[in-house]
């Protein structure tokens, strides 16, 4: 019979649904959220919720008063009210009052021993056949204090310690035999709310004692998001994990706090089920007017998905969608019957009660069971099934479902299924999945214990812990004397680091270790111990070279398609060079698992890292002095990942040379040095002690030259022995005596220093640009004499030139000038008047001794001549302009003559066409004239500006004369 339908109009889709149903009569059911479940080997049954050994457990109350405000009778009434809540018609459980304990229990008859507290005999679990549940009225709080510590009974702690519960006997057959409940009398008082609060807490404690787990149903009532409705609060189970604290009394924070919700009843009925037709008097079949839906939540791989909260929501028959209930009626966490922890190679097996909880039967892995969904009015109803994750706060003492220490987020998003459930007693099995879960279980080659795969050469690799008990096995060779770190980051199916999927643990063995043993080299069984989110880290040291076998597993022995991980081995294998001097140096570390940001230290002293790859780190290691050592050492080199806390150490891997006294070069000639001259830079050395800092005074230093020959200025000899001064320094000037290669050596007890240079002869020259300045006899002339400096071994820029008159009428100013960058220096000179043939001489000297003369010489007037330099032959248009004519005064040797007076006569005549072939050429009229006198400059030049008529065609005739024979004439014209 098909019991479900699927509505095509639903936006939320179902990946898979399989349904069948049968009548529940005679079927053994497990339902609700059991607090404990049996499993091998501790228990003799497997996958069975742990319940009381009898359907009729009795509680026995303390014969004393609970407090001065609550006498014995009132206390019994309070207990009865709390207990009777759990007596519901559809459950086989009958929680009843059995009578009184034999004595009032207090600090007077509960006494400590070295192995715990001893209670009166009839409170002990050994008395379970007679008294199953002992309820102690802790009048003065002394018992509570003994159990929980000093001050635990203080009224300020009543929200936590009003009721202390302990189920102290669960037998391997899978049954609860005994429990103790301690009511703290100090939490009662004059306010009736105090007693109601205790009743509320006792009610919840009874639920735990009966074997119920916490439940997450309508959790928005707790979270406040979205804001709950009243009906959602009315369906927020009594067995919610954490109270809302809206005031001093938490029972006031939910409506009708002393009424079990449908979810509480479903859970209770799941533990204490009444099959159809088997209800005793006063009871009813569990599924009378109710439905049961069970099934599995599955990955696409058909593996069950644990830790998914499956919730049921109802919709009455023949009503429109507005009548769908907006609260959940019941819930169940998948996998609650499945093995909670399984053995792993890293953690080993746990045969205790804790380690045995749950079945290994695969069907139960994604199993859920909504035992009793009460029916709305009518003969059938719709039930929607929805999925959601467990609130991450519900762990440990508040755990909901099979993942106790940490919640696991479902893979994929929440989904919804519409199930049309038929009448009373109907049981349906429905398989479902979330939306978009991890769809593949392909861990790749993750090795085996006997054949681990080699670790990735980069030290980084990704993997998947898929399939229960999956362990990834790797191998890696590690040198002796190494510390290395294995890190595993848990990731979700999208690659994000998370604490809500796998809980990685790590184990290390030698490859030669027998299989099946617990890790021999190291293990980390506490997940997420690293400072980095979702990372488990294990740091281990090897004394000898070892071939490692490495295992990565889930701490719970779990394995799912959404248990991704990123693994990394941070390992420093070698360093090159392995020897450095006392000054340190640059080294390259080779290994794996490196990444940018990793730091390097040498004996704890930071090095400067300049480059990273996954396999190499380049760093400049500090000098020996920074390591606090004055002698050579072998140091540890560490690579640190400050994000994860990972470290890789190479012990005794880097050798620093022993520090010794040293002789160090301070200064010395280099390159080419002038032979025969004292070198500008002295040869100086400094002797330092082994610490590299303290100078050595009085050490004999022998200075020698070979090859080559020099004079050491300190002693004037070709070799010399000097003592170092207080600064440890010995210094001498050097004068090379021969040309060619020269090597100088300074030798002392602290060391030897050698330098080399080339000695060469130096050629220097000073050359006047114009050695003789010719001037007209009798004239006084000023000019700028210049000289060019040259030096075969060096630059001349800046060399000072001294200018001095030597003979005759000549003056120079300034007397000194510096050569420019071209090696040219100049000054200003004034000479004359000189007689014809007479000279005035001056001198320019550089480097003191390298000189040249220059002179001014008188030129007789009869030797003056004129030559045209430019401007002759001009013939331009009338509207143009005639350019100046440049003439030069020279002597008979064609040397320019300065200071010569030149008379210039110009006339302008009208423009005239060519003369006729025959007949007289007409004389044009003179339209203008001028006369002037000019003096030739230092270059003998004069510039004559032609007179001219603007815009008119004309001829300009120029006649110039100097001395007695210097004459020139020319004509230039502007034509029409």
């Amino acid at each position: 019979m098909l019991c479900v339908d699927e509505r095509p109009g639903q936006r939320l889709r179902w990946a898979m649904m399989l349904a069948f149903c049968w009548l529940a009569a005679g079927v053994h059911l497990w339902a609700g959220g059991p607090r404990w479940v049996t499993g091998q080997p501790y228990f003799t049954t497997d996958g069975v919720p742990i319940v009381w050994y009898t359907d009729h457990p009795l509680y026995f109350t303390d014969p004393g008063d609970l407090s001065s405000y609550v006498n014995h009778a009132a206390a019994d009434a309070l207990v009865a009210a709390a207990a009777n809540v759990w007596n519901v018609p559809t459950s086989s459980l009958v929680l009843g009052y059995g009578g009184q304990l034999d004595e009032h229990v207090s600090g007077a008859n509960v006494y400590p021993t070295s192995s715990g507290l001893v209670f009166p005999i009839d409170v002990e679990s050994t008395n379970y056949l007679a008294k199953q549940i002992a309820i102690i009225y802790d009048y003065d709080g002394s018992v509570t204090d003994l159990l929980l510590g000093s001050g635990a009974s203080e009224p300020s702690s009543c929200r936590q310690n009003a009721v202390t519960e302990s189920v102290d006997s669960i037998v391997p057959a899978g049954y609860i035999q005994h429990a103790v409940l301690v009511l703290n009398g100090r939490c009662t008082g004059p306010a009736p709310e105090q007693q109601l609060q205790m009743q509320y807490q006792l009610m919840r404690a009874f639920g735990r004692v009966l074997g119920l787990g916490w439940s997450q149903t309508n959790d928005n009532v707790f979270t406040g998001s979205p804001q709950p409705t009243y009906m959602q609060a009315m369906n927020w189970p009594v067995m919610h994990p954490i109270d809302i604290i809206c005031g001093p009394y938490t029972y006031q924070c939910m409506p009708q706090p002393f009424v079990l919700r449908a979810d509480d009843i479903s859970a209770l009925d799941g533990l204490y089920f009444i099959s159809q037709g088997e209800a005793p008097a006063g009871k009813a079949d569990t599924l009378l007017n109710a439905n049961r839906i069970y099934g599995r939540v599955l990955f696409p791989t058909w593996q069950g998905m644990r830790g998914v909260n499956v919730l049921a929501r109802r919709w009455a028959q023949y009503t429109d969608t507005s009548k769908e209930e907006d609260w959940y009626t019941a819930s169940y966490v998948t996998g609650s019957l499945y093995r909670r922890t399984a053995p792993t190679a890293v953690t080993g097996s746990d045969t205790s009660m804790t380690g045995s909880m749950g079945s290994t039967y695969g069907y139960y892995e994604g199993y859920y069971d909504l035992t009793r969904i009460p029916m709305l009015p009518g003969d059938w109803q719709n039930v929607f099934l929805e999925t959601e994750p467990i609130n991450p706060l519900y762990t440990g003492q508040y755990a909901v479902g099979p993942y106790i220490d940490n919640t696991v987020e479902p893979s994929g998003s929440n989904s919804t299924l519409d199930a049309e459930v038929l009448p009373s007693y109907r049981v349906s099995e429905m398989w479902l999945s979330t939306n978009g879960p991890a769809s593949a279980c392909n861990p790749g080659n993750s090795g085996t214990e006997t054949a681990p795969v080699g670790a990735a050469s980069s030290g980084w690799w990704a993997g998947l812990l898929c399939g229960n008990g999956r362990t990834a096995w790797s191998s890696l060779a590690i040198k002796g004397g190494r510390i290395f770190t294995v890190e595993v980051a848990a990731e979700d199916e999208h690659g994000f680091a998370t604490r809500a999927k796998a809980e990685p643990v790590i184990g290390l063995w030698q490859m030669s270790d027998p299989t099946g043993t617990l890790p021999t080299l190291g293990s980390e069984t506490e997940p997420f111990n690293s400072p980095a989110t979702g990372v488990t880290s294990l740091t281990t040291e090897t004394a000898q070279p070892v071939q490692l076998r490495m295992a990565i597993a889930d701490e719970r022995g779990d394995g799912r398609p959404d248990y991704n991980y990123q693994a990394r081995v941070l390992y420093a294998d070698s360093i090159s060079p392995a020897n450095v001097g006392a000054a340190g140096g640059v080294v390259t570390i080779t290994g794996m698992g490196f990444r940018p940001g990793n730091t390097v230290t040498v004996n704890g002293v930071p090095a400067t890292v300049t480059n990273w790859t996954t396999n190499t780190i380049t760093a400049s290691v500090p000098p020996l002095h920074d390591l606090g050592s004055s002698t050579g050492i072998v140091a540890d080199v560490a690579v640190n990942d400050l994000v994860t806390g990972g470290v890789a150490v190479m012990s005794q891997a880097l050798t620093y040379g022993s520090p010794a006294p040293t002789l160090n070069l301070v200064s010395g000639p280099s390159g080419t040095v002038a032979a025969g001259q004292r070198a500008a830079i002295p040869f100086a050395v400094q002797a330092l002690a082994a610490d590299g800092v303290t100078p050595i005074a009085g050490e004999s230093i022998a200075f020698t030259a070979s090859p080559g020959s020099v004079t050491f200025g300190a002693c004037g000899l070709s070799s010399c022995t000097l003592s170092t001064d207080a600064s440890g320094t010995a210094s001498t000037t050097i004068t090379p005596l021969t040309t060619g290669s020269v090597t100088l050596t300074a030798t002392g007890s602290s060391g030897v220093v050698t330098i080399s240079f080339t000695a060469a002869n130096e050629v220097r020259s000073v050359v006047a640009y114009s050695p003789v300045e010719y001037i007209a006899a009798g004239a006084v002339v000023s000019w700028a004499p210049a000289v060019n400096l040259a030096d075969s071994l060096g630059f001349t820029a800046g060399v000072t030139v001294s200018w001095t008159p030597v003979a005759g009428l000549i003056a120079v100013s300034p007397g000194q000038s510096a050569a420019n960058g071209m090696g040219v220096a100049q000054t200003a000179a004034t000479a004359g008047p000189l007689a014809a043939g007479a000279q005035a001489v001056a001198r320019a000297c550089a480097w003191v001794t390298v000189c040249t003369n220059f002179a001014a010489q008188g030129v007789d007037a009869s030797d003056l001549r004129l030559v045209i330099v430019s401007g002759t032959g001009q013939s331009v248009a009338a509207n143009s302009t005639l350019t100046p004519v440049v003439l030069q005064v020279v002597d008979t040797a064609n040397d320019p003559v300065a200071g010569a007076t030149v008379a210039v006569h110009q006339t302008i005549s009208a423009w005239q066409a060519l003369c006729p072939v025959r007949g007289r050429c007409p004389v044009p009229p003179v339209e203008g004239s001028s006369e002037s006198s000019m003096v030739s400059d230092a270059s003998g030049l004069i510039t004559v500006a032609p007179i001219q008529i603007s815009g008119a065609a004309e001829s300009t005739n120029i006649v110039a004369a100097t001395g007695t024979q210097g004459f020139i004439s020319l004509a230039i014209q502007k034509h029409p």
Binding site: W36, S166, N391, L393, A532
Partner: protein, 227 residues
């Protein structure tokens, strides 16, 4: 009601996480940040209930113990009944413990809420050079903080399949409140921790170990001065 509360000695609930921590600090005789090194179960003999010894390495002592020295917590084995695993070897916790009673037994203040997890918080990002300090996970402490209860009107229907919330009517909400919560203190107010359990609330409820320890030590000084 307030008079009754005062007479009972029960505290009004804390209104902030700081207040909650302060109350826990006041109740604790031993406070430290430490790591679980060993858990040893000692069966009861001659009718004794048994003891579980939890050995801690004290990383930072605040009160009642010494930094660097081991601290051994002895708990009544009844708290471990049913195979409960209250502590895991290797986990790091900020412990608020009661002073041991005459029995030598003790337990965390406020149940296991007094064993506050300490977590690593650095993102595993290539290139990150430094780690962030570990943080104290205060989400469970935050759950002890006062939170008003308010219900929206029942007729406001949440379409679960469409995952939307229909508009609310303020008057209808008030009616719903008066009808449904005769005992509850009603405020229409959202609470900072209203996102309890979701990822966004985690960051808001995590504080560096150093700041929490510093705060606890400052409170210790104040309380010592009062004494």
């Amino acid at each position: 009601m307030l008079a009754a509360v005062a007479a009972s000695g029960q505290n009004a609930p804390p209104h902030t996480v700081d207040e909650a921590l302060h109350e826990m600090s006041d109740e604790a005789g031993v406070i430290f940040d430490g790591q679980v090194m060993a858990v040893r179960r000692q069966s009861g003999e001659n009718g004794a209930s048994g003891v579980v010894e939890v050995e801690f390495r004290v990383d930072q002592a605040v009160r009642g113990c010494a930094t660097g020295e081991p601290y051994i917590l002895r708990e009544w084995a009844g708290l471990w009944a049913g195979g409960a695993r209250r502590y895991r070897v290797g986990e790091r916790l900020l412990m608020f413990l009661r002073t041991p009673s005459a029995s030598g037994l003790s337990s965390p203040v406020d149940g296991m809420d007094g064993a506050v997890p300490i977590l690593g918080s650095s993102p595993l990002v290539a290139g990150s050079a430094t780690a962030q300090n570990p943080v104290v996970d205060l989400r469970w402490v935050d759950a002890q903080v006062f939170r008003p209860v308010a219900y929206r009107v029942q007729s406001a229907h949440t379409d679960h399949r469409r995952d939307t919330l229909l508009p609310l009517d303020a008057h209808a909400m008030a009616r719903g409140v008066s009808r449904g919560t005769e005992d509850a203190t009603i405020f229409v107010q959202s609470k900072p921790g209203s996102s309890r359990g979701n990822a966004s609330s985690v960051a808001a409820q995590q504080t560096s170990v150093e700041s929490v320890i510093a705060m606890l030590k400052s409170w210790q000084k104040v309380s010592d001065a009062v004494r």
